[in-house]
């Protein structure tokens, strides 16, 4: 064993010596074979096959399973089932339902459902996306402190407005998706398009503008041509196969240079991020510290986690339980005021935090829990 090690190590030393004493100091490279297009899958990867009941020269398979023409499992889906679940909106507008909403209505809905995370008029919040601006920034590269990064927003980056409708309808508001009516989604989309100064048929979307299905389908987003390759035609998958099979399209192909290879300088960590890691890094093998018994497992702690923590665990949006400084002034107002604010809404806080399924008693219990954590 040890002999072998020495042999390998001496090989390495020899290589290094050769490298430093070589007169030519030319890089020495090993060329690799690349398969032709017809041996590749749609992603440019190796295309694997079943041969002699073995898949990819690796996994034995039962060929009888592959012989069966039909299994007839499950049952046929009904029209109503499909209608209830088919919630996507494709870029060619397939799936967009009817509805309408004005910019003004959208403004009100935005204040109620969106602003606590996405900021006033789409100006963004900590961790949550900015929704406006960024035009002309996409070529930016933030290479050193002070450089401006590219800013990817609905207006500067998104190629299709269909995605905006789909996203708002099925993914927003973040803690309560699928809670907005189609008309409400139209209104919020109208407001967001208006904020981004997007026009329809040359018309600006002012407060009174009412967005309908027909009008939305006319929207052409400013960055519609900002993406490649073009996959929307009938040969889309083939376009992708060719694109992904040629690594020079997306990378500088490397070679197996073995000696005298080009190299560069050593850059060390200047601003470590390790301090924010939770739980703190450790590879120790010891017994865990005993966990303190607390209110953590109470009913209201659980409700807080389910219904409130999306905002109230982010200090940029709402006061976080345990943050004594933030809570001191609030606790001073008296518990009844806090109950009222929580139940009826106050500033960025919607009534019951949007969790209208909770009773007033539940809300009071949650407030008690939050206050208790913050004393």
């Amino acid at each position: 064993m040890f002999k072998l090690d020495l042999k390998r190590i001496s090989t390495f030393v020899a290589l290094t010596l050769f490298a430093t004493t070589s007169i030519s100091a030319q890089p020495q490279e090993i060329k690799l074979q690349t398969p032709p297009l017809d041996k590749r899958a749609v992603d440019g990867a190796i295309k694997y096959h079943i041969k002699d009941d073995v898949y990819a020269d690796t996994y034995k398979i039962n060929p009888d399973a592959y012989e069966i023409k039909q299994f007839n499992f499950g049952r046929e889906a009904t029209k109503n089932e499909i209608k209830a679940r088919d919630i996507d909106v494709r870029y060619d507008w397939q799936g967009l339902p009817d509805g309408k909403g004005s910019v003004e209505q959208g403004d009100e809905l935005y204040a109620k459902h969106c602003e606590m995370c996405h900021g006033e008029m789409g100006s963004g919040g900590k961790g949550y996306p900015l929704l406006v601006g960024g035009q002309g920034t996409l070529k930016n590269q933030m290479l050193k402190p002070g450089d401006e990064p590219p800013i990817k927003t609905i207006g500067s980056y998104w190629p299709y407005a269909s995605t905006l409708w789909w996203y708002v309808k099925t993914g927003m508001p973040f803690p309560h998706p699928m809670s907005l009516t189609n008309d409400e989604v139209y209104a919020i989309v109208a407001y967001l398009l208006s904020l981004n100064e997007i026009t329809i048929d040359g018309e600006e979307l002012d407060d009174e503008y009412v967005l309908t299905k027909e009008k939305l389908m006319k929207v052409v987003m400013p960055n519609v041509n900002g993406f490649y390759p073009d996959v929307n035609g009938p040969d889309g998958p083939l376009v992708m196969k060719k694109f992904l099979s040629d690594s020079s399209n997306y990378a500088t192909p490397n070679v197996r240079c073995m000696k005298n290879c080009p190299t560069a300088k050593v850059v060390r960590i200047s601003q470590p991020l390790d301090d924010g890691i939770r739980p703190p890094l450790s590879t120790k093998r010891d017994l865990p510290k005993k966990e303190e018994g607390s209110a953590q497992n109470s009913k209201y702690a659980k409700l807080f986690e389910e219904k409130c923590s999306a905002c109230h665990m982010n200090k940029a949006i709402a006061p976080v339980p345990g943050d004594k400084e933030e809570w001191a002034s609030r606790i001073k107002q008296g518990i009844e005021t806090l109950y009222e604010h929580a139940i009826k809404g106050f500033k960025g806080m919607p009534p019951k935090g949007g969790a209208m399924d909770l009773s007033d008693e539940d809300i009071k219990g949650i407030v008690d829990f939050m206050v208790e954590q913050s004393k």
């Binding site: 590219p150 996959v231 490397n254 300088k265 060390r268």
Partner: protein, 427 residues
Amino acid sequence: MKREIDNKRESRRGFLKNIAASVVAAGTLAPSLLKADDPNLIEEPEWGKKLGLPVDKYLYGQPSPYEHNVVRRVHELLSSGDMYASVAMCPIHELDGIITPNGLFFNRCHGGVAIIDPNKYRLLIHGMVEKPLVLTLEDIKKYPSESVIHFIECPANGSTEWRAPQFNTLQFLKGMMSQAEWTGVRLKHILKDAGIKEGAKWVLAEGSDNSHMGRTIPLEKILDDAMVVWAQNGEALRPEQGYPIRLLVPGWEGNLNIKWLGRIEIGDKPWHAKEETSKYTMLMPSGKAIRFFWPMEVNSVITRPCPDKPWTHLKKGDVVEIEGLAWSGHGRIKGVDISFDGGKNWVEAKLKGLVLPKAWTRFSYIYKWEGEPLLLSSRAYDEVGNVQPTIDQEVGKMGVENIYHRNAIVTWEVKANGEVHNVQIRS
């Protein structure tokens, strides 16, 4: 960690002061701390003198309490400010072999981990099919199954490193990936029952959790090797992995392996979902973005040593195994080279264990370390002939604003005292 390292360094310094000069000269390497007549051998240990736990103590087994630091970890910068659209990183520095224990599998989700009642679970398949289908979980499990080993990697793995090195820990540098043995059915078998119509080219796969995340996948991939899976490493999927059903798209972006899979729609055009427009698109220095990028490219990293598992315990002249993981979504790993001098000269490492398609592959190099400082790098190459790029090559083409698909060579600086630091070799 910082404090711990500092403590370690302090105690080592204190120790070194009090011992013979010859040992100090031997290096700044930590000497063996094992004394002669070790009481751990001389005396009967406490676990040898009393009964252990009864067999019914944990009916679902737990790791040793001494392993409590082997956990996923989070960082608020890697989330949207909450812990719902966020990621918990896999402690890959603590893993052995190529299988990730289910409780440590990295967890990325977009609206929290959905807990689905398997009795109410339904998979809907519709669109350009002869017969739209509803399948229960039991229906799906009636199809003939296969078990395959594949990694799943988030394309944002390592994305904090585009401009400069930032994390001095492997867990956060490359922990957005894990590997399991997945059991399920090839989607091509299920689609025989639906019957695909002429002209169909694309598939929308959508999660049924609250983010309703959908992604477009070419039908060709779905019919090639995509699977609907219900088990990982021999047990039901964990909720974090999409219980009761997720899509498995071998070798492709983690995001495409839709968890809590609720719906499959077949169509003739791509959808352009939110994760194909605002996110998971690759913005190039030209200001234009690559729209779809599916496979995870050839990649590798040395896992021992690494910043989390340094060489501070070695004696001068110890023979040590340098070990790591290599993987490629384009196929099998063909080989891995190792450099000790920051990429000027390279030698071949050995692959060891199973070398599977689109799977983590272990590599190994036996080295006699004399305490000299090293710049240790690994460079993998795969079955399609792609070689892991240098940082300069990658940044030269892609810029630094891409976020996704960063697969450049990783370099560790091994110091004379055995500490290991994440550095970058770049112009």
